[in-house]
Amino acid sequence: MIRALVITHGNIGAELVRVTGLILGPVEGLEARSNSGRSLADLRAAVSEWLVEGAAAGATGGIVFVDDYGGSCATAAQLACGHEPRRAIVSGVNLAMLLGFLTWR
């Protein structure tokens, strides 16, 4: 299973994750983080922690969905994911995108 993390401003990500569960039922391997109140370094550490958790569980990569390229969420994701080819970042996250990902992964 490909794990995914949704990082957004405010509660957008948490709400998107919650609503995917309302539509598809409980989903695994999908979490949300918010940048609220967090420095870029703190947010980067949160993404790194998620990647380490995945690696410990045997995952070799994952997808990070962010809301807006150029924002702190996208920058933190890029800095945390680095050059590892099995880590992907997708900008412009929305409900249809997440439903498509969860359906086809």
Partner: protein, 165 residues
């Protein structure tokens, strides 16, 4: 014109700068001044890629930023200067960068930091740097976004925070 905004923000280049302040101030260039980031070409590219194409961007060391801001080309450009910490902005000022004042835009919570404002958390090192900026004759204003409330930060606020720490 030269520096239209000198901002301390631990998120550096992000929406409040590239959309919020840039829509208001219409800068020609954003300078991210950081010794650590400037020494890493890949990190520099990540930050630079966050700036809209209409705005030039430089990711440079503090010393290079100070030289660039004193140069003749700088006077012709409207420039936003960013540092991630108060200490770096203080160093930039003491290297001779001509700054119009300093905007505290975002210092988020971290270990050992106390809240000065909902978007400004400081420790003793930050307060020392803010004092140095005041001593250099620079006005300090905390304001996250254009149109948001401006908070003048003076010696009294810094003393008060020092007592609480």
């Amino acid at each position: 014109m030269a520096v239209v905004l000198a901002r301390i923000d631990d998120r550096l280049i992000h929406g409040q700068v590239t959309v919020g302040w840039s829509e208001r101030l219409r800068p020609d260039r954003i300078i991210l001044a950081s010794n650590e980031i400037a020494a890493d070409p890949w990190q520099s590219r990540v930050y630079a890629s966050s700036v809209p194409p209409a705005i030039a961007v430089s990711v440079v060391s503090l010393a290079r930023a100070a030289v660039a801001l004193r140069g003749p080309e700088a006077a012709a450009e409207r420039t936003i200067v960013l540092t991630g910490t108060a200490a770096e902005m203080s160093d930039l000022a003491h290297l001779g960068a001509p700054l119009p004042g300093v905007n505290l835009g975002g210092l988020h919570f971290g270990a050992g930091k106390l809240e000065m404002l909902p978007f400004v958390f400081v420790d003793r090192r930050d307060l020392e740097a803010l004092r140095r900026l005041l001593a250099a004759g620079l006005a300090l204003t905390a304001q996250q976004v254009p149109g948001g409330r401006e908070h003048a930060i003076g010696a009294q606020q810094i003393d008060e925070m020092e007592r609480r720490l």
